[in-house]
Every structure is written in structure tokens, then in C-alpha cells.
């Protein structure tokens, strides 16, 4: 191993290190929390400012843009979920825009934000919150809790347990097998949600960092990879939103 390789390894490692306060389980990733809450506030501030003076007549340009997103989410919800639930649509909107904004931090040049913070003596700064599993698992866990809540609310505890045990095999002797299968299905949902988003964004960030180590030739490659993320970033936000809607509408369905 040459010295340069060690340096680039260190470079990547350094960039994938969160700004952490505390130890072990009680640790807090200040950068993930800070950026995600900042982006969440950006989302809510813009949308709230439009909501406050929402015109029913001729809308302004910002209102048009916001309404396009809202209508897009509304259509997505209505195409999948056919019941009445005041939570699902705002939840889907929050997930879509928030995840989109957090993913979009991937487009910011990998060294820009860490360098700026370095000037103020902050040595670790990971600016893409969705590359932190804490972030994606928090979202998935929130959705999972809602899945359980609405399953029980719509079907009752008995109905929910029945759904977990009496299918796919109808015979009572196979109920334990059913339960194991259904639990795997149920638990796979938040796990796949969290890991899909984390995996895609983490891998994307890693490739950005790798490209950053190859010298001057990195400029066109960075451009290509960023252009590719024009697909990845909205797509991952959309997938997270659609799967949330799908899982919640499944929770509302009686079998």
C-alpha cells in the first residue's frame, strides 16, 4: 500500500464520520440532526408561507410550484389508498419533500460544507442526513408505528392477530408457521424502507468521495455522477413515499 492510498482511505473515512456528541448508544450525530431539522424547517417554512396566503384565485409562481408538489402527492395517495385518513396525505408530503431535500444535499460538492465548517474548527461534517442510518431508520420506524397503529385501529387487536396467524395457510396446525412468515413480512417493511434509502444514498456519497480522490480528472466524472443522481435522488424520495402509502393502505385493508 502506497502512502497516497492510505491518504485517500483516510480522506473517505474522515468524510463518512459524523460529528458526534456523547458515547455509545447515547451518542448524538449533531450534523445529521442539524441538517435534517434545518431542511425540514426549510420545507415547512416554504409550504407554510404558501398555505397561509393560499389564493383560491390566480396563484403566484411559488404557490403554483408548491401546489404542483401537493397535487402530485395527493394523486399518488388517491391512486393507492381509497379510504379516508387525514394523516396519510400530509405524511406522504412530509416524507417526499423532506427526503428529497435531504437527498439533494448529495449534489453539494463533497468538500464544500466540511471545508466551511473546518474554518470554524469543526472537523467532522456529514451533510447528507439520509446517508446516516439513524435518519432512515427513524423515518421507517415512524411509518412502522403507524402501520401497527392503523392495523389495530381498523381491524382490532383480534383482527390484526388473526391476519398474522391465519394466512397464508388455513389449517390451525400451521398457525405458528403463518405467524413467523407474517412477522417476517411485517418487519421486512420498515427494514427495507430504511435500508433502501440509506444504501442508495450512502453508496452515492461513497462514489462521490471516491471520485474526489482521483485528481483533476474528477471534474467530468463528478458531473456525470451528479447527473445520474438527478434520477436517484427524486426516485428514492418517491419510492419511500409510495411504499409508505402502500403499506398504510394495506394496513387499512381487511382480508
Amino acid at each position: 500500500m502506497s502512502a497516497a492510498e492510505v491518504t485517500s482511505q483516510e480522506y473517505i473515512k474522515h468524510h463518512l464520520q459524523n460529528l458526534t456528541v456523547g458515547e455509545g448508544f447515547w451518542a448524538l450525530h449533531i450534523d445529521t440532526l442539524g441538517w435534517s431539522i434545518f431542511l425540514g424547517l426549510v420545507f415547512l417554512t416554504i409550504f407554510r408561507s404558501v398555505a397561509k396566503k393560499a389564493e383560491t384565485g390566480v396563484p403566484g409562481k411559488l404557490q403554483c410550484a408548491v401546489e404542483m408538489i401537493v397535487e402530485f402527492v395527493d394523486d399518488s395517495v388517491k391512486s393507492t389508498f381509497h379510504g379516508h385518513n387525514p394523516v396519510i396525505a400530509p405524511l406522504a408530503l412530509t416524507i417526499f419533500v423532506w427526503v428529497l431535500l435531504m437527498n439533494a444535499m448529495d449534489w453539494v460538492p463533497v468538500d464544500l460544507i466540511p471545508r466551511i465548517f473546518e474554518l470554524f474548527g469543526v472537523h467532522y461534517m456529514k451533510a447528507v442526513p439520509t446517508t446516516d442510518p439513524n435518519m432512515t431508520f427513524a423515518l421507517a420506524l415512524g411509518v412502522f408505528v403507524l402501520i401497527i397503529y392503523y392495523s389495530i385501529k381498523v381491524k382490532g387487536i383480534g383482527g390484526f392477530i388473526k391476519e398474522l396467524t391465519t394466512q397464508p395457510f388455513g389449517h390451525w396446525s400451521l398457525y405458528p408457521v403463518n405467524f413467523i412468515l407474517e412477522m417476517v413480512t411485517l418487519l421486512a417493511r420498515p427494514l427495507s424502507l430504511a435500508l433502501r434509502l440509506f444504501g442508495n444514498l450512502y453508496a452515492g456519497e461513497l462514489i462521490f468521495l471516491l471520485i474526489a480522490t482521483i485528481g483533476l480528472f474528477q471534474l467530468p466524472v463528478h458531473f456525470l455522477w451528479a447527473a445520474f443522481h438527478l434520477l436517484v435522488i427524486p426516485l428514492q424520495a418517491f419510492i419511500f413515499m409510495m411504499l409508505t402509502i402502500l403499506y398504510l393502505s394495506l394496513a387499512h385493508e381487511e382480508h
Partner: protein, 156 residues
């Protein structure tokens, strides 16, 4: 993968954001969108109705125009008829007047002629008497021979 308290923090942030979105962001925006959709739908329906009304009004106007034209033609026809009638009447009257005047003229002429005849007869009688006197060179008693004279006058 080091999961830690960050997850809890993010979960809290997530819940707060969703609740805020549910309470203060989603309802006004979707309300405005739906209200505008309703307005637009109403506007489109109204314009459809207006187009239909226009068509109807045009049809009505055309019908009225046709009727008016027919009425005008009728009036003109009647007027022409009346004109002919008036001319005819006037001609008839003129004819009658002419005949009346002619008749009056004829009558006058007749009277005058009769008068002249009568006068002439008288004078002829006188002349005849005077002539006869001269022929007979004697006076004739006009009264005694008046019956002859009257006969003569009647013969004239």
C-alpha cells in the same frame, strides 16, 4: 452502522414535522386547490351554458328576423293591394263623375234645344202668319184662325 440516540431525535423531529404538516400545511393548500378546481369547473360549466344560450339566442334572432321579413312582405303586399284598390276606386269615381257631368251637359243641351225649338216654333208661327198675311194681303184674325195656326205650328 451505529444506531444511537440520533434515531430517537430524528423520530421526534419526524413526528413534529408530520403533525405540523397535517395541521398547518396540508389542509389550507389542498383546500385552496380544491376550491380553485371547483371555481374552474363552475366557470367552464357557465361558459358552456353561455355558449348554449348564445346559440339559442341566435336561433331566436334568426327566427324573429324571418318573421319580421315575412310580416314586412305581407304589409307591402297589403299596401300594394290597397293602392290598386284606391286607384280603381278613384278611377270608378272619376268615371261616375264624368258620366254625371256628361249627363248633366246632355240634359242642359236638350233643354236649351227644346227651348230653342219652342222659340223657333213661336217665331215660325208668327212668321207664317205674317207671311200668310202678306200673301193674302189681308189681315187675318189671328184669334179666329188660331186653330189653323196651332195645327201648323204642331206640324213644324
Amino acid at each position: 452502522m451505529n444506531l444511537n440516540m440520533t434515531l430517537v431525535g430524528e423520530l421526534i423531529a419526524f413526528i413534529v414535522f408530520v403533525i405540523f404538516c397535517m395541521k398547518y400545511v396540508w389542509p389550507p393548500i389542498i383546500g385552496a386547490i380544491e376550491a380553485r378546481q371547483a371555481t374552474i369547473a363552475d366557470g367552464l360549466a357557465a361558459s358552456d351554458r353561455a355558449a348554449k344560450d348564445l346559440e339559442l339566442a341566435q336561433e331566436k334572432a334568426t327566427a324573429q328576423l324571418k318573421e319580421a321579413k315575412a310580416q314586412a312582405a305581407e304589409i307591402i303586399e297589403a299596401a300594394k293591394k290597397r293602392e290598386t284598390q284606391l286607384v280603381e276606386e278613384a278611377a270608378e269615381k272619376a268615371q261616375a263623375e264624368k258620366e254625371k257631368i256628361l249627363a248633366a251637359g246632355h240634359a242642359e243641351i236638350e233643354t236649351e234645344r227644346n227651348q230653342a225649338k219652342e222659340e223657333l216654333r213661336q217665331q215660325v208661327a208668327v212668321l207664317a202668319v205674317a207671311g200668310a198675311e202678306k200673301i193674302l194681303e189681308r189681315s187675318i184674325d189671328a184669334a179666329a184662325h188660331s186653330d189653323i195656326l196651332d195645327k201648323l205650328v204642331a206640324e213644324l
